[in-house]
Symmetry: C2
Subunit: 190 residues, 2 copies
């Protein structure tokens, strides 16, 4: 989506380790209007898929998924990164690794909120190595629900996550795909 | 707001230690339509206040603030609970304590996203001891921005946070206030 690409070019910052900082509009400060526009695009892309629920993971995925839920008229379920005192009942777990924080952890959702009747769209802000999306897909599978696909705001096309998921047959729709970073410049995939 | 009170009564669960579990619609699975309704109420309550930004803290505050941002046409800034590799520049810190997770931590925001020109409404899902809201207010103050007030979905009126903030002169608007829990029943304040 041109609108998102333009924002990445005008406000994104390249930090060391190919970290693309978009904290001005996506994952620290949130331009809710932009997220609603992205939600309209996602609604169009997945029209007819009879999605019943959006699934994401805390923290920054929550903003994206909530805006999409507002546009698509859908509830959001967010996986937690830690058990807390306000979870109860039977849980589903999926081990994962965060490259941003360099830690292993278990994503957890309460089983009662994902049922075999659900048709789930997995939502996140970034796709790089695909660890978070794979774990979210595993939660959908463990619940016996149907995985409609995954959508992320920004895919780093030069990392392996997108290819790995598509090779497994998962539909992945990224609102912007960064093909490569060349001489400190961001080049999008057509 | 009656709509929220009804949902708390019909779906809320009382866990030990006066934990009120509302994971079915507020802080695990999210009923985005309900949050948008709450946003309309908050917009009405703070009409004329010329708010420029909503400030919350990860994780479950993000859903509430994003829905309010959609209704009010405002950007959201969420404080992080840990420094991460995608924060940069000058930071503002506020020490706090989470009773839910029983840990001390520093809330952090990048200074560039809160300016003296901002008129900030602090948003969160719960108000109990008021630790999180106090720390968010401290971030607003450190930035030299104007604190318009605080709004939470559910205030536990039998804990001290709401009184403490109001005694300091902070405007606090809670969408539902639980006055007390009596014989395992939730009683709302009028």
């Amino acid at each position: 989506m041109k609108l998102l690409e333009q924002r990445i070019l005008s406000e994104g910052e390249l930090l060391s380790g190919n970290v693309i900082k978009v904290g001005g509009f996506l994952n620290h400060q949130i331009d809710v209007g932009l997220l609603l526009e992205m939600g309209r695009e996602v609604k169009r892309l997945f029209a007819g898929e009879k999605i019943t629920k959006l699934l994401t993971v805390e923290a920054s995925g929550i903003a994206v998924a909530t805006a999409y839920g507002a546009v698509m008229g859908l509830p959001v379920l967010f996986a937690k990164k830690h058990g807390t005192s306000n979870l109860s009942g039977q849980m589903l777990y999926a081990p994962t690794h965060s490259y941003t924080h360099n830690v292993d952890y278990n994503m957890v959702v309460e089983r009662r909120y994902l049922s075999p009747c659900d048709r789930v769209l997995v939502v996140d802000d970034f796709l790089a190595n695909g660890q978070a999306l794979c774990s979210l897909c595993s939660l959908v599978e463990q619940a016996g629900a149907t995985l409609v696909g995954c959508t992320v705001a920004i895919e780093k096309g030069f990392q392996s996550g997108g290819r790995m998921l598509r090779e497994r047959g998962v539909r992945v729709e990224s609102i912007a795909v960064i093909d490569r970073i060349e001489d400190g410049k961001i080049i999008f995939r057509d």
